[in-house]
Amino acid sequence: MAQVTKVLTAGIGEANLRDIGVYRERGGYKQWQRAIRELQPADVLDLCDKSGLRGRGGAGFPTGRKWQFLPKDKALRYLVCNCDEAEPGTFKDHMLLEEAPHLVLEGILLGSYAIACHHAYIYIRGEFKRGYEIFCAAIEEARAAGYLGKNVFGSEFDIEVTAHRGAGAYICGEETALLNSLEGKRGEPRLKPPFPAVAGLYGAPTVVNNVETLAYLVPILEKGAQWFAAVGTERSKGYKIISISGHVQKPGNYEVPLGTTVRELIDIAGGLRPGRTLAAVQPGGGSSACIFEEHLDLPYDYENMAKAGSMLGSGAFVVFDDTTDFVKAAHNLVRFFAHESCGQCTPCREGGHWMERVLERLVHNRGVPGDLEMLDRVSATITGINLCPLGDSIEPFLKSVLRRFHDQFAERILREETLPA
């Protein structure tokens, strides 16, 4: 069986990593000190680039490349760490924030140094009130130890980190909506371009990175770019925390090399319940299409998930066994997106609710002839014509299960003779 590795998750559940003393005993803040004392920002950027690290927030964009988009001639720039984790099925950032806040902070410091940012922000989901308090305490501990503030370790480098708590809105995970929210506005996505790298927070060049992405900078600095690039598959390098949930016996966060097979991931999480068979896996969060039995031996990485018609996304891996009612499941996710639509784009705003209502009819066995065709038509129509990817996230799951479990949908349609007059 494939092995579970412990890189970011090392010590979680064993030691109280919230305590800066404990974190330091385990080598914490050594890389930060080394970066300031021995490395140039360009060295950190180069290490990150060579490691092949790709964004862990959903899109999988190469992190080093993203940093290089910052205009060279502008000194003012921001790093914003995205801890708004609300993609259905994802719960890794929540864990890192609460269990390893200093690791996250050290990652933010390293990222800031790499792009020469002097004021970094972390946007924490409003529901993570406890996590926010833990992180604020970590910032204060680090400040007292001289790891942030003016002239860190006696160098010329100043860095401030501010934690900002959201107030309930999935869309604020989208980077430009996040920036609006951080500016004290409604969390509505902005039109791109300009991209945040050009005009982001307060109009200045900005990099938005996921919590897990930034946290991986710490082990990459410690063990080298080669160490990271040596694991994984050709274009999906290194390790990833996979949030496995649904119908498995031991749901949880498991850190594995990218390229571990889908079957192995299910086994790692304790397998299915006795006597059950697999119906589907949603491999990349609520926005992703399902994969099925025939995909069990695929390596779980960005390329293979895309080839299977889905995506790896944030690494939320939800397993469904043969007891699943996929009409209800589809209704659940469509309702989620309809509820979380910010309302700027008509297709996303209206289409989502329309589909939700049709699915609600089906859930209650009151579908009318033509409903399934309508679902197909509406979902195809609203996809690809929205401001941000949320509007395009409504279709994939629905479409994949509507094809595969067509009978479950079809039997919810009222027959002609029973239709109300």
Partner: protein, 266 residues
């Protein structure tokens, strides 16, 4: 609701504001632009008043050089800000997919039966507000919920019974929310049959969509109408003027980018 006379809370507000002002100023100082402090300031007032009151929004507006309407326009976007009084315990049960396939629907039905209210409603005694929320990022510990934003994992009917009893007795581990005003009866949202019989989770018919923001029992339009009926139109003053200014600010940034970063002119 909009009756004559001022409530005790309203009378206490000026003193509260003076007490919180230093903390608000600290919050403002954490950011490079004032307006960024809006969410933190609203969190602070909600902590003390139990909701983000009209007075709090006005105060935030004047501290941040915004109009009250800009503040309310922003506050109403976010589901964790309540713009009217809510129960002492806000029970937010996860209806996300991972919880749902692990029995959340039965537990939500159980909650509705025990509380006698549905999604987005508050009990008549003002103790509980009940809401069914999206994935709480704790799917490995399904089914789960938050009580005044503290997590409770692995729910069972027995756990729910114990929890509700402890809350009623005032012995529950998580402290109640501040409640400076009794939640109004108008919080009730009509439920359809299936909700009443406890078999359906989306209970709030007639909710304004798509942005059903504003949290437990939001009825944005009604809140605004209330203000206008009460002759409180001043709340929306200067709105159009600001709207023009804001969009100009954005265009300036973009224009400045195009012109090779020559600062925006005013």
């Amino acid at each position: 609701m909009t009756g004559s006379g001022t409530s005790e809370r309203e009378q206490n507000f000026p003193a509260l504001l003076e007490r919180l002002r230093p903390e608000c100023e600290q919050l403002v100082a954490r950011y490079e632009r004032k307006r960024s402090a809006l969410l933190p300031i609203c969190h602070l007032f909600q902590l003390h008043e139990g909701f983000v009151s009209k007075e709090a929004m006005r105060a935030a507006a004047s501290m941040l050089d915004l109009t009250p309407a800009e503040v309310e326009g922003t506050v109403s976007f976010y589901t964790l800000f309540f713009r009217r009084p809510v129960g002492k315990y806000v029970l937010q049960v996860c209806r996300g997919l991972a919880c749902s396939i692990n029995g959340a629907e039965d537990l939500m039905a159980y909650f509705r039966e025990k509380l006698g209210v549905g999604h987005l409603q508050t009990t008549a005694d003002g103790t509980f507000s009940y809401e069914e929320v999206e994935c709480l990022a704790a799917c490995d510990r399904a089914t789960c919920m938050q009580v005044n934003l503290e997590f409770v994992y692995d729910l069972t009917p027995q756990k729910i019974d114990e929890m509700l009893a402890a809350m009623r007795a005032g012995t529950y581990a998580t402290s109640p929310m501040a409640q400076t005003e009794a939640p109004a009866a108008t919080w009730s949202v009509p439920q359809d049959d299936q909700v009443a019989t406890g078999r359906k989770s989306s209970g709030a018919l007639g909710q304004p969509s798509p942005n059903n923001a504003g949290g437990v029992g939001d009825e944005s339009g009604i809140i605004m109408l209330d203000r206008i009926l009460a002759g409180d139109v001043g709340f929306y003053e200067r709105t159009s003027e600001r709207a023009v200014r804001d969009s100009r600010a954005v265009t300036e940034v973009v224009e400045a980018e195009k012109n090779g970063g020559n600062g925006a002119s005013h």
